[in-house]
């Protein structure tokens, strides 16, 4: 196994343990940033590495892309978190003890997500996702207000239901593999399963995929099982909302994609495409309409995450190199943009002392810098040019239109509805006479600028090397 693989999985584990031991929130906040930065740098070396396939670890074009994205957003979020947490301590929302706990959990969560992404063993992948879920549950409840507790409870119950179903699905996949690959480790090794996929039992695989789709789909936040997502986003600390939307949803979708590849490699098995298209469209359109009724700014963007995860699932459901390419690109754009929006929203909520949309007015007068950041983020996430999300949404719609015009119309309808809602709300927040509280925040705008610049750069020009890399990953997806 390679040293970089150890580093990406190990640095967060070790630093999580260390951060739990160090008192003093300033040191732990800086430690958190350094640890996340080191993990990010370690993951960059993956770009220059040949693929690895071992019993427990796999590194192919697909997960290299997810890991680099994961560690990058983890790094910028830790920088945002340092300035956010400083304010929370000053206002007494969090005690230093809880902050110590918080930083250790942050690293633990990054570690378990990286492990889930790197795992070649479907059991280890499941363990990684379960640990990440449990840690985010604690973090969502960290404010200990009645609302935060209810959100954490709901998240926990739904998360556990999803994760148990996914485990049952994993057992079924093992059973399917066992009759071909023999007992023990090989039948749980994803790459071995994939290479012998055509011989596996189709019935078992079909049943397994339904369990995995519902199970991991709950974690992705797909429509009928999304109920935990808005609460968890709204009541937890904002850096956690950014990580949930930007990373955890992606990792869950990644797990689902691994199994979709398995299904696609078996000619006799159920076609996962139509199911994913249906669930994706349902989430997209449902969330788009729900956007109009939001009164809480973080809930608003949580529903927008459901909408975009729906669109991405839809794209992967369409399948084929072009739609997969667009789906992967949109995943990156959504991750970067949505976490940037949460960076801005976090500071806005601190400055105004509230998350109620009705109480946040005239931001362009009172906090011009924050207002500009938020406005750019919302413009980017609505899919307006010149930002990257425009390109990915355009690609998704055009490839769909060429194959299934009616489906493309449905998706475009959902996107337009969501677009209207976001602009309507943004207008209310930005303009008008400033009202309500006006606290001073030392916002660090660097993470926000980094993300928006990346999204803008991707919209204007994608380097050929990046395109080739996305294409390789898209081909793997089949």
């Amino acid at each position: 196994m390679n040293e970089a693989v150890y580093a990406v999985a190990g640095i967060p584990v070790i630093s999580g343990l260390l951060l739990a031991l160090i008192p003093g929130y300033r040191i732990t906040a800086i430690g958190n940033v350094i640890a996340s930065g080191l993990t990010f740098m370690a993951s960059l070396t993956f770009l220059a590495m040949p693929p690895i396939v071992e019993n427990y670890v796999i590194l192919d074009s697909l997960n290299t892309f997810f890991i680099v994205l994961n560690t990058l957003v983890g790094f910028t979020t830790s920088a945002f978190s340092a300035s956010y947490i400083g304010h929370e301590i000053k206002t007494g929302h969090l005690t230093p003890l809880f902050v110590r706990f918080y930083h250790a959990l942050f690293q633990g969560m990054m570690a378990s997500m990286n492990i889930a992404l790197l795992a070649n063993n479907i059991g280890v992948m499941w363990v990684g996702l379960e640990l990440a879920t449990l840690m985010t549950v604690i973090m969502v409840g960290i404010y200990r207000t009645p609302n935060a507790l209810e959100a954490a409870w709901k998240y926990f119950i739904l998360g556990i239901v999803g994760i148990s179903l996914a485990f049952f699905g994993t057992i079924l996949v093992y059973l399917a593999g066992q009759s071909v690959l023999g007992e023990g480790l090989p039948a749980m090794t994803w790459s071995r399963l994939l290479s012998s996929a055509p011989q596996l039992d189709a019935g078992l695989l079909n049943l397994a995929f339904i369990f995995l789709l519902v199970g991991y789909g709950t974690k992705v936040g797909l429509a009928p099982l999304h109920a935990w997502l808005p609460d968890a986003h709204a009541e937890g600390p904002t850096p956690i909302s950014a990580v949930l939307s930007g990373l955890l949803l992606n990792v869950a979708l990644f797990a689902l994609l691994r199994f979709k590849m398995l299904m696609a490699a078996h000619p006799g098995a159920l076609k996962p495409g139509p199911i994913m298209i249906a669930i994706g469209l349902l989430s997209l359109i449902f969330a788009a309409f729900m956007l109009y009724r939001r009164r809480d700014i973080k809930r608003l963007f949580a529903y927008s995450s459901i909408e975009h995860m729906g669109l991405i699932t839809f794209a992967f459901g369409m399948g084929g190199p072009l739609a997969n390419f667009a789906g992967l690109l949109h995943m990156v754009m959504h991750s970067l943009t949505k976490s940037a929006i949460f960076f801005a929203v976090g500071h806005v909520a601190q400055a105004k002392g509230t998350q109620r949309l009705a109480d946040i007015r005239g931001l362009s007068v009172s906090h011009p810098a924050l207002a500009a950041g938020l406005a750019l983020g919302v413009v980017a996430i609505s899919g307006l040019p010149p930002f990257g999300a425009f390109m990915s949404e355009f690609l998704i719609l055009t490839t769909t239109f060429a194959r299934e015009p009616l489906l493309a119309l449905a998706a475009a309808f959902g996107l337009l509805v969501a677009f209207g809602a976001l602009l309507l709300r943004l207008q209310g927040v930005l303009f008008g006479t400033p009202a309500g509280a006006d606290h001073k925040v030392n916002a660090s705008s660097l993470p926000l600028i980094v993300h928006l610049t990346l999204v803008l750069a991707a919209g204007l020009y994608l380097p050929a090397a990046l395109i080739a890399w996305f294409q390789r990953a898209a081909e793997l997806l089949g």
Partner: protein
């Protein structure tokens, strides 16, 4: 191999009966005792699988199920219930007949589903799997119908019991998974305990209903 088959079915069946009992028990101590009995049946079932499959490492899983879920956790929850002073009746969202009816429906669903799609697998495995799925679905039903935090914990742990039964029934599934499941149950209990005490602190009650009052968006 016929009696190996019979004993495995007997133990899995016992667990299923315990799941049905959990559905209608309306006193909190009875719920905890039934859960302990189910966990012990699980321990025996896992140990039997270890013996039949010649996988001695399954005995570790069995010992963990017996010690942790059969003894330590029920005792801890028992103490917690006494300390919180909530050893009164447990309310139910649906009545007993309805719960039983739904439970029967879910059990037949599980049996029909698994037996239909797994004709290729050994009958030893597939019937065990069907029973395990029934236990998991009944656990979900229990979590839905109960309104009390402690009984929801029990519902969740009975789901885990079903999952472990399924995992050990699949021949030679690597131990790493079982250990991690047991480990995650431990973490889960920790999480739950934290929640229960925090809920107590805030509301003077562990009734989930009092959480529903603060639901949704602040208006």
């Amino acid at each position: 191999m016929t009696h190996g088959y019979d004993v495995a079915h007997f133990l899995a069946g016992t667990m299923l009966v315990a799941s049905f009992t959990l559905l209608y028990q309306d006193r909190i101590f009875a719920v905890l005792n039934t859960f302990a009995a189910q966990a012990m049946a699980l321990a025996l079932a896992v140990a039997w699988q270890g013996y039949v499959q010649h996988h001695p490492d399954l005995f570790i899983t069995a010992a963990m199920a017996f010690g942790l879920k059969g003894i330590v956790i029920p005792l801890a929850l028992n103490r917690m219930v006494v300390r919180l002073g909530i050893h009164r009746d447990v309310d139910q969202a649906v009545n007993v007949a309805m719960a039983m009816f739904l439970g029967l429906g879910l059990t037949s669903l599980a049996l029909l589903l698994v037996l239909k799609v797994t004709p290729g697998a050994a009958s030893f495995t597939r019937e065990g799997l069907a029973l395990a799925l029934a236990i998991i679905l009944l656990g979900f039903l229990m979590m839905i119908t109960r309104r009390n935090a402690v009984t929801q914990i029990v519902g969740f742990m009975s789901i885990e019991n079903g999952l472990i039964l399924a995992a050990t029934g699949a021949r030679g599934m690597p131990l790493v998974v079982e250990v991690s499941v047991a480990f995650s149950v431990l973490i889960a209990l920790f999480v739950f305990a934290v929640f229960v005490f925090r809920i107590r602190e805030r509301f003077d009650s562990v009734d989930i209903e009092s959480l529903d009052r603060v639901r949704g968006e602040r208006r």
